[in-house]
């Protein structure tokens, strides 16, 4: 099992390795003389840039947060409807969603770009958000988890006079918690690490995101390899935190969701 966490450990230790240990082959997994020099290097790279590093951090946190929130809402609403609200053509919609998960055309990227521009997202924070919030596999996931919601619970809520929206929030959302946590984690990881929109749609340096800034400023050169290792650790940490938070929620629901059934 140590096998599974090995790359993670490697990621951690490399960030603290002095240069001579970093270029050794085979790369040592543990660090002999740990140093913080890499982090100093990383900060130094940004000492002279126009935009402070914190600005990029803010951009990333903000856009990732909003996109994640919207992704979750859209996915569980649609998934719940597909599984439980018995719309006549739900099956057709569902099949299209499944098909879209499996089809990936490189030519579609051109149209994607055009639509993003047409919506006026050029040079806007929304370019990080809008194109990514409708993910068919998350809807599929929500639908599958929503199938586990007992119909009797929903009926009971309706008879008590709850509106459909209220039924959704009071009955479905608590049961969907594991799905929500999982979608949250997946979308966080996908959004947090992607620098794509920065290069394609964003002109203002001050609106670009962290992965873009990091990969740009610290690319190439042996001297900057340390800074690069520090950077990859810094990019990894939030994902790790996201994993711990979301999974504690998943394990948590077991005790709560069970009672209601």
């Amino acid at each position: 099992m140590a096998f599974l966490v090995l790359p993670l450990i490697y990621n951690f230790t490399t960030a603290f390795k002095p240069l001579d240990e970093m270029i050794k082959y085979p790369p040592p997994i543990f660090v002999k003389k740990p140093t913080l020099q890499n982090f100093v290097d990383m900060v130094m790279v940004y000492a002279n840039t126009e935009v402070p590093l914190l600005r990029y951090v803010f951009n990333s946190v903000w856009t990732t947060g909003v996109a994640m929130f919207l992704t979750i809402i859209l996915s569980i609403l649609c998934g719940y409807s597909l599984a439980k609200l018995k719309v006549k053509s739900a099956n057709i919609v569902f099949n299209i969603i499944i098909a879209s998960m499996m089809i990936s055309l490189s030519t579609a990227a051109i149209m994607n770009y055009k639509i993003t521009m047409w919506l006026g997202l050029y040079n806007s924070y929304w370019a990080f958000i809008i194109p990514y919030i409708a993910n068919s596999s998350y809807v599929f996931l929500s639908r599958q988890f929503a199938e586990g919601i007992p119909d009797e619970l929903m009926e009971a809520a309706r008879i008590d006079g709850a509106s459909e929206l209220k039924t959704f929030f009071v009955i479905a959302v608590p049961i969907l918690k594991p799905a929500i946590a999982t979608i949250g984690l997946y979308s966080f990881n996908a959004l947090w690490g992607s620098s794509g929109p920065s290069g394609m749609y964003i002109v203002d340096e001050a609106k670009k995101n962290l992965p873009y800034a990091l990969s740009n400023a610290i690319s190439g050169g042996l001297a900057r390899q340390g800074a690069q290792a520090a950077m990859s650790l810094i990019m990894l940490l939030p994902s790790l935190i996201a994993l711990i938070i979301t999974q504690s929620k998943v394990v948590d629901t077991m005790s709560h969701a069970g009672i209601k059934g």
Binding site: M1, F3, L4, V5, P7, L8, Y10, N11, Y25, S75, L77, C78, Y80, S81, L85, V87, N91, V93, N95, I96, I98, S100, M101, M102, I103, S104, L105, S106, T107, A108, A109, I110, M111, I115, I130, A134, S136, V139, L141, F145, E147, G148, S163, E164, P178, T182, L185, N189, S232, M235, L236, L243, I244, Q247, S248, V250, V251, T253, M254, A257
Partner: protein, 324 residues
């Protein structure tokens, strides 16, 4: 809501009565319609808007390129079925890629699927679950470079690679094995790495699904004479997990057929004798390096046809309702 109005209408005696009754009637019709169809669509609408904009329209408008020669520079030139003729009759590498993709998908897909369920099930019964979840999911999370470095050092071709070093030390071999340059070794190495990579995602879904199986059911089952954990698994857990089983099956199929970047990391692109040249690498070749987007599009559609057919088949097997 309807009930309240009902009472109001009855209370409302006088000249407005007929009018009120009329309004009530139309309202209830509307609200009936709303409850039957409207709500469902309203819940789906926010997703569908962005889904149509960023998935459906781009795919539908660009599918036509599969019948053209298109290089992004000149306008697409209509060639009819030429791309498909070339693919099936002349493109030898397509045939190789097709076979390789199938081979890797068969080797990794089912095994990864069963393994991740098994681990999720075992860990769900352990203490310190969170720690184990962390351990299983990290491979999916760490950067591609770290994965490359670790695995490539383990399977290093010279005597400095960990595995070669160990084997030499134990005296099992006298010369280091060039693992990532020998056809016989490349495939197993890729299978191991992609299993290791795919474990996390499925595991997480299974694990989340297991949390939804209610404990009372196990207690009830115990009364009905189910004793050992294997019977519990077969009669209670698995049937209740059908939705999650279906989800992971579909995503496993999709990702098993999309294997590509690992092959490049391990064996380079093109790999020796195209031994692990897969469909997704073939598509990447034409879309990226050769700029023959029309042909790449045709290839993608063939790959889609295969995965979708398989997906439908799995849905038939695992569907919890008789819906498809």
């Amino acid at each position: 809501m309807a009930k309240k109005q009902d009472i109001e209408v009855i209370d409302d005696v006088g000249e407005g009565e007929i009018q009120a009754a009329k309004i009530y009637k139309t309202q209830s019709k509307l609200s009936k319609w709303w409850n039957r169809v409207g709500v469902g669509w309203a819940f789906m609408l926010p997703f569908l808007v962005f889904f149509i904009l960023f998935s459906v329209i781009p795919v539908l408008t660009s599918v036509r390129y599969c019948f053209t020669y298109y290089d992004m520079v000149r306008p697409a030139e209509w060639t009819g079925l030429e791309n498909y003729r070339y693919m099936f009759l002349e493109d030898d590498i397509f045939a190789i890629a097709f076979a390789n993709t199938f081979k890797l998908a068969v080797l990794t897909g089912p095994t990864g699927y069963i393994l991740s369920f098994f681990f999720a099930w075992v860990i769900n019964n352990l203490k310190h679950k969170s720690f184990w979840v962390l351990a299983f999911y990290t491979p999916t999370m760490v950067s591609g470079t770290a994965v490359g470095i670790i695995w490539m050092t383990l399977f290093g071709n010279t005597r400095l690679g960990y595995l070669n070093y160990a084997l030499l030390k134990m005296g099992l071999i006298t010369e280091p094995i060039p693992f990532t340059q020998t056809k016989e070794w490349i495939v197993p190495i890729i299978v191991i790495i992609s299993l290791w990579l795919s474990l996390g995602g499925n595991f997480l879904i299974f694990f989340a699904g297991l949390q939804n199986v209610r404990k009372e059911l196990y207690e009830a089952a115990a009364i009905d004479g189910i004793e050992n954990p294997y019977q519990e698994l077969w009669y209670i857990t698995l049937p209740l997990m059908k939705p999650q089983l279906l989800y992971t099956a579909i995503t496993s199929i999709t990702s098993a057929f999309a294997v590509g970047s690992i092959c490049t990391t391990v064996a380079g692109n093109p790999s020796p004798d195209y031994c692990v040249h897969t469909l997704s690498l073939h598509i990447g070749d034409y879309a990226g390096a050769r700029l023959e987007l029309g042909y790449a599009c045709a290839l993608s559609l063939v790959m889609f046809a295969i995965t979708f057919t398989l997906g439908k088949f799995v849905m038939k097997l695992l569907s919890s309702k008789d819906e498809l």
